[in-house]
């Protein structure tokens, strides 16, 4: 676990910064909520003034912003999925490729380690960091709920937690796969971020237009939609399968490619 420990140490600072940011965002949003709830009548009126399409995008037509569940689904969960996916993507995209980009692969690969071992330990580092960020987010949410006057249904909340984690891991797996063969850090960072951002906008577009319905499978954000979770109280098994598949395929390919390739040193 030498490489894992090294990754942990190197990335601790960034994990702390991200944890602090996510905590701040979640607490801030949940602090706003009581005031919104007080003025719920006005808010519901105000939101009705939004174009219908826009209401659909954020699930406002199905979720009631004035309930804690609705507010969490629309505001907090949306921010958490987006921020967490960006973090997971940045972290995973760099982790394998940086050794080649910084020419330290020549050091690492001269040590008595197999390439499989390198991939495994780096993968564990990704998993560990993403899980920790999610734990921080969960704890922050639980603290934030104390400020609210109404109660959050906890069974639904835990599904939100699992959904967010799976989404983050899905993006992490995709970026990790890219990291196994793209060598330039700058290039891989922009590709990974583009995947997250484009997926996000695609899910908005899908919400806006019914004709884009078929594209929903191409954006992981659709797999863990807040409205679905809040109304059905579960994660769609089909989407669970899809996320599992993306992770298994991405990670297997990463192992395979990293083992087979000629290292640029």
């Amino acid at each position: 676990m030498i490489i894992f420990k090294r990754e942990w140490k190197t990335n601790l600072k960034s994990l702390l910064i991200w944890s602090a940011s996510v905590t701040a965002v979640i607490l801030l949003l949940l602090l706003i909520y009581p005031q919104m709830a007080e003025q719920q009548q006005d808010i519901s009126e105000l939101l009705k003034a939004y174009p219908e399409g826009l209401q659909q995008v954020f699930g406002m037509d199905q979720l009631d912003m004035s309930t804690l569940l609705g507010f969490y689904g629309i505001e907090v969960f949306m921010m958490l999925t987006l921020l967490g996916s960006i973090y997971a993507s940045i972290f995973a995209s760099n982790i394998l490729s940086k050794e080649e980009n910084d020419h330290t692969a020549e050091f690492l690969l001269a040590k008595p380690v197999t390439r499989r071992q390198i991939v495994t330990e780096k993968l564990l580092a990704v998993l560990c960091n993403v899980v920790i960020l999610n734990i921080v987010a969960t704890v922050s949410s639980l603290i934030g709920f104390q400020f609210a006057s109404s109660k959050m249904p906890m069974d639904t909340f835990w599904i939100f937690v699992v959904g967010a984690l799976l989404l983050h891991l899905t993006f992490a797996a995709i970026s990790f796969f890219l990291s196994s063969f793209i060598r330039k850090s700058r290039k891989i960072l922009s590709v990974s971020l583009a995947i997250v951002i484009l997926s996000y906008f695609l899910s908005i577009a899908v919400g806006l237009s019914d004709s884009l319905e078929a594209l929903k499978f191409f954006t992981p954000f659709e797999y863990v939609k807040a409205t679905e979770i809040a109304t059905t109280n579960q994660l769609d098994p089909l989407y669970l399968l899809l996320m599992g598949l993306i992770m298994v395929v991405s990670i297997s390919l990463a192992y395979f490619i990293y083992h087979k390739k000629d290292m640029a040193v």
Partner: protein, 297 residues
């Protein structure tokens, strides 16, 4: 016993030849030089031996183990100094060295401090603040610290000042005395002559010759540059002169043979200055190896 056995190792890069049918053996306890001009395939060979890159065909064994399938086992007992040293920039020198030691499950802090002192290397400094030469020193310590059975070094003295080079050669001599097998590449003939028992000469990806140092020195070629008034009118007619060239007031001669003989003959020439130096590898290859395809021994 052969520590390194290379058998028809070939590496093609997208159709281009990196190395072709490279074969040689390095024996236990031997200092083996790997010499050739830049781009000849020295680094490619070394990188293949470490399995950074996969061979296209052919095979090689180190400690009797296959370089592809048993690479991890092999690397337990190798110290490696790359030609360009790149380490984790935000680490301190001692952090990097202890990170390196962990992989070999050793803790030779005493040896680390000793080596660093001999090479005048500050362990507390950050890698990112080090000059090229100082990075090389970190590389040397890193290669030696776990007391490997085999040292593989790619252009080890590049970037080291002459004083440090001497210290480095001394350390190498001590390692050799301990029984360590040393394999290093270079493009400087004299460096190899000083330290090696045998050399493999590589050019355009192919081994031209594997020679003992005695043979290399016996057949040694020197570049002699004379400065004189009218070089055009001088004809040396000395046996062993391979090439004569005139540049202004300078007469450049590539000479092979007994140096005393040359000096005696030069006595009768009225020159102002003389410079005798190692020929460039290109000269050696052009006028020596290509003449009859290899060294006569």
């Amino acid at each position: 016993m052969a520590i390194v056995e290379v058998n028809k190792l070939t590496k093609l890069y997208k159709g281009n030849v990196g190395i072709k049918n490279v074969s040689f053996d390095v024996n236990e306890g031997e200092t083996f030089g790997f010499i050739g001009p830049n781009g000849a395939g020295k680094s490619t060979t070394i990188r293949t031996l470490f399995n950074f890159i996969y061979p296209t065909s052919g095979s090689a064994k180190i400690f009797g183990k296959d370089i592809v399938t048993e690479s991890k086992e092999i690397r337990k007992h190798i110290g490696y100094l790359p030609s360009e040293v790149h380490y984790y920039e935000n680490m301190k020198v001692e952090e990097l060295l202890s990170y390196s030691m962990k992989f070999y499950k050793v803790n030779n802090t005493k040896r680390m401090i000793e080596l660093a002192e001999r090479l005048d290397l500050d362990l507390k400094r950050k890698i990112e603040d080090l000059s090229f030469g100082n990075r090389k020193k970190v590389g040397i310590v890193q290669a030696l610290i776990h007391e490997p059975k085999l040292l593989i070094m790619d252009e080890p003295t590049g970037g080291l000042d002459p004083l440090m080079q001497n210290e480095f050669y001394e350390i190498l001599a001590e390692e050799k005395a301990k029984g360590t097998t040393i394999f290093f590449s270079s493009h400087i003939l004299s460096e190899v002559q000083q330290t090696c028992d045998r050399v493999a000469i590589i050019k355009d990806g192919e081994i031209v010759a594997v020679e003992t140092i005695e043979n290399l020195i016996k057949n040694s070629v020197k570049t002699v540059t004379l400065t004189l008034k009218e070089p055009e009118n001088i004809s040396l007619e000395i046996e062993g002169v391979l090439k004569e060239e005139v540049h202004g007031q300078r007469l450049s001669v590539l000479y092979q043979g007994n140096m005393k003989h040359l000096l005696n003959e030069l006595n009768r020439v009225d020159f102002d200055d003389i410079l005798i130096e190692e020929p460039s590898l290109e000269d050696v290859f052009l006028h020596y190896y290509e003449k009859d395809g290899g060294l006569e021994s």
